[in-house]
Symmetry: C2
């Protein structure tokens, strides 16, 4: 039998990657999600923790949409999101991911 | 008496500017806020229209914080917001501004 090297973000132990690069990108995305969740939870009244978390994941997962809108292409915010990223595997990760709200 | 030229964004008729540049920047910020409000309202369950609007304004007003975080400096999201932008005048504009949700 052969030993395989796996990589995992400690922010979401439900997913492993065989590529370190992918694991790094996923960890960075979760780090951004956590920060945005904290930011929006702190600044907007009445948001549930779950809503703040979902907003963080939404903006972190679609950061390229936000970046384009911030450069003036606001129409991208009215277009349906590219579904290819939200494959069933992501859905599984999303439902089981336990984002620990840093610093709360 | 002299006639003064004023500039106003049709997205917020409660504010006028003597500088076209400032009016343009304000209009762009409101356009981004409107887009983000639509985007987050569409994608996140259970948000009130007011919460979606507040999130849009928050992200559009502090776009530079988001941009830095998206480039990897996520710690900016945990720092208190620079208050100098939220002067009392902005607060007045914020409370009276009627962002029409485009396309709903």
């Amino acid at each position: 039998m052969a030993v395989v090297t796996l990589f995992m973000s400690d922010r979401d132990e439900s997913r492993t990657f065989t590529s370190k690069k992918e694991a790094d990108a996923y960890d960075k995305m979760l780090e951004l999600a956590e920060g945005i969740s904290h930011f929006v939870g702190r600044e907007i009244d009445g948001l549930s923790e779950r809503q703040a978390e979902d907003i963080g994941i939404l903006f972190a997962r679609h950061a390229e949409v936000l970046a384009a809108a911030m450069k003036g292409k606001t129409d991208v915010l009215f277009e349906p999101l590219a579904q290819q990223e939200d494959s069933s595997e992501d859905k599984k990760a999303e439902s089981s991911s336990h984002l620990s709200a840093v610093g709360e």
